[in-house]
Symmetry: C2
Subunit: 300 residues, 2 copies
C-alpha cells in the first residue's frame, strides 16, 4: 500500500453542448484511482450507496485498486452531481448536487493504509480532509485538491490543510479565487507561501504549469479535435501524477516533470469518453505511446 | 534582401490596468522588423508622417533594418491606434484609430525587394496585401497576419490572400472568427484547407500551437509575473519566426519548431516593456539565453 486516495465516488449527470448522459459513473476518487492504477496499486477511501453498480466495483478490483477503505452504506444512495459544459470545455456549471450518503460520510483509514507513502486528499469538505490527516502517520508526500465551493465557504479550514501538504493541485480559476491574483505565477507563489512546495496549475485545454521550489515546468495539452466529456480530467491528472511518483519512489525535478506529463496523458484519455468509459479499454501500451506523443509535441 | 515585411508603423496610446502611455512607438512592421533583426536583415514597406521621430528611424537603421520601402509623407501625420487592456492581457479593446497617412497608403515594393525570399504581409487592409502580392515574384515563403476588423469587413478579399500564402499567423480569437469553429485544431485545419500549409495559433499567455501539414507543435508561453504591455507580441512572434526561417534558409519540421520557439522568445521580450522599449537594450546573448530557458521549461 503506497498511494491512498480519499475522495468521492459518484453518479454524474453530464450535459455537453452535444450530448446528455444520465447518472454515469464519476467521482474524484474513481477517476484518480483508475488513472493511478496504470502505475501503482492505489487504495481508496470513499463512500457509495447500495445503488452503486457492482460491475464498477468489480472493474476497480480488476484494475487492482484496493477497496478496503470503501464504505458501502446499506440502503443508502450514492452522491449525485449534475453539471453542464459550454462550448468552452474549461467552463462548467453545477446544476444540482445530491449529497446522499456523502452527507454523513466519515472517512476511516484502514489500518493497512496508515503507512501510506503518498496521501491524496481529493476534493471533499476540508473538515473531512482534516480528519484524514489526523488518522495517518506523516506520509512521504501529501497532496490535495479542492473546489471553489470550499474556497468560498470554508477558507480557514482549507488554509489549515494547505499548511500541511506538499503538493497542491488546482485549476486556474480555483487558484485565482484562492489568492485573488490573476497572474498565475504570482498566484502559484502565493500558494507556495501558504504551505505546499509544489503547485500544479491545471489549465484544461491550455495544458499545465508546475511551480516547484526552484523550477518551472510547462506543458501544453495534447491538441485534440474532440472533447467528449471534460469531467474527471483534473482527477485523472492527479492520479497519473501521483501514481507515477509512487512508482518511481522519487521526487526529483525530473520525476516531477515526468509525473506532470503522465498526469496530462491520463487526463487526455479521460476526456475521450463519457465518465470512466475510456478506462474500460485503455491499455498500458497506449499510455506509453501517448507519453511519446507529448514528447514529440513539444520537441524542438 | 531576403525577408520583406509589409505593415504598419504607428503611434500607440496604450492603457493597461496599471499605466497609460501616450503616443509611444508601435505598428506591426516596427515590432516585426525589430524582432527579425536579431536573425536577418529585414526590409520593410510602410508609411509614416513627418511627425515620426527621426531617432526611431535611426534606431531601425542601427538594427540594420532596410528602410528603402519606407514612405515618409511630407506634412503627413502617422497612423495612431489607441487601445486598452484588461487584467487579462489576452483581452484588448480598440478605443480609437486615426488612419492619417495610412488612409492613402499604396505600398510600393522597391526593385531590390522584389526577389524577397520570404514575404510577410503583416496586418493591413487585405486589398493592400493583394497589391503587394502582385508586385513581387513568388517568394520562397509567403506569410500573413490579419485582425478581426478585416475578417468581418472584407472576408472575400481575405480569402483571396489566404489562398496564396504558405503561413498564416492568427490569435485564437481571430482563428475562431475566421472559421466559426471553437476547437482550435479543427479551426486550424479549416484554415489549412483555405490555403496555408502552416497555421500558427498564438494564444498569448497560453503559448502557441503550430499546425503543419503532418505534424503539430505546442509550446507554453514563458511564465512571467509581469506583462508590462502586450502590444506587439504577435508581430514580434512573426518577426522571430520568419527571421529565423530566413536565417536558416530551410522549412523542415525542425526549422519550423525552432522558429516557433524564437517567435515566442521575441514575444516574451516585447511584453517586458512599453512599445519597443525592450529592443533598445536587448542583446543577442539574451535571445540565445531565453531560447535555452524555453528548452528548460518544457524538458522532461
Amino acid at each position: 500500500m503506497s498511494l491512498v486516495i480519499v475522495g468521492s465516488m459518484a453518479f454524474d449527470t453530464i450535459e455537453t453542448p452535444w450530448e446528455r448522459k444520465e447518472k454515469i459513473i464519476g467521482g474524484s476518487c474513481t477517476y484518480c484511482s483508475l488513472a493511478a492504477s496504470y502505475f501503482t496499486r492505489p487504495g481508496i477511501v470513499a463512500v457509495v450507496g447500495e445503488d452503486f453498480p457492482p460491475d464498477v466495483i468489480a472493474f476497480l478490483k480488476k484494475r487492482r485498486v484496493d477497496l478496503k477503505g470503501l464504505q458501502i452504506v446499506p440502503g443508502g444512495k450514492t452522491f449525485h452531481w449534475q453539471g453542464r459544459y459550454g462550448t468552452d470545455p474549461n467552463q462548467r456549471e453545477t446544476i444540482r448536487t445530491d449529497l446522499n450518503v456523502f452527507e454523513s460520510f466519515r472517512p476511516e483509514i484502514p489500518a493497512s493504509y496508515r503507512k501510506a507513502d503518498i496521501l491524496f486528499l481529493a476534493n471533499i469538505d476540508p473538515d473531512l480532509q482534516d480528519s484524514v490527516l489526523r488518522q495517518v502517520k506523516k506520509p512521504r508526500l501529501t497532496a490535495m485538491d479542492t473546489i471553489g465551493l470550499w474556497i468560498q465557504s470554508k477558507p480557514e479550514a482549507l488554509m489549515r490543510i494547505l499548511r500541511r501538504v506538499d503538493i497542491y493541485f488546482g485549476n486556474d480559476e480555483e487558484i485565482r479565487m484562492l489568492t485573488d491574483e490573476r497572474n498565475l505565477i504570482k498566484a502559484g507563489k502565493m500558494i507556495q507561501a501558504m504551505g505546499p512546495r509544489l503547485v500544479i496549475i491545471k489549465k484544461g485545454e491550455h495544458g499545465a504549469l508546475v511551480l516547484g521550489p526552484d523550477f518551472l515546468f510547462g506543458l501544453p495539452a495534447l491538441p485534440t479535435e474532440k472533447v467528449t466529456d471534460p469531467t474527471g480530467a483534473g482527477d485523472s491528472f492527479a492520479g497519473g501524477f501521483l501514481g507515477y511518483l509512487d512508482k518511481t519512489g522519487g521526487f526529483s525535478k525530473r520525476d516531477i516533470r515526468r509525473a506532470a506529463v503522465y498526469g496530462s496523458v491520463m487526463a487526455s484519455f479521460t476526456i475521450e469518453g463519457f465518465g470512466i468509459d475510456r478506462y474500460r479499454t485503455l491499455k498500458p501500451a497506449e499510455v506509453a505511446a501517448r507519453f511519446q506523443e507529448f514528447k514529440t509535441l513539444v520537441s524542438f
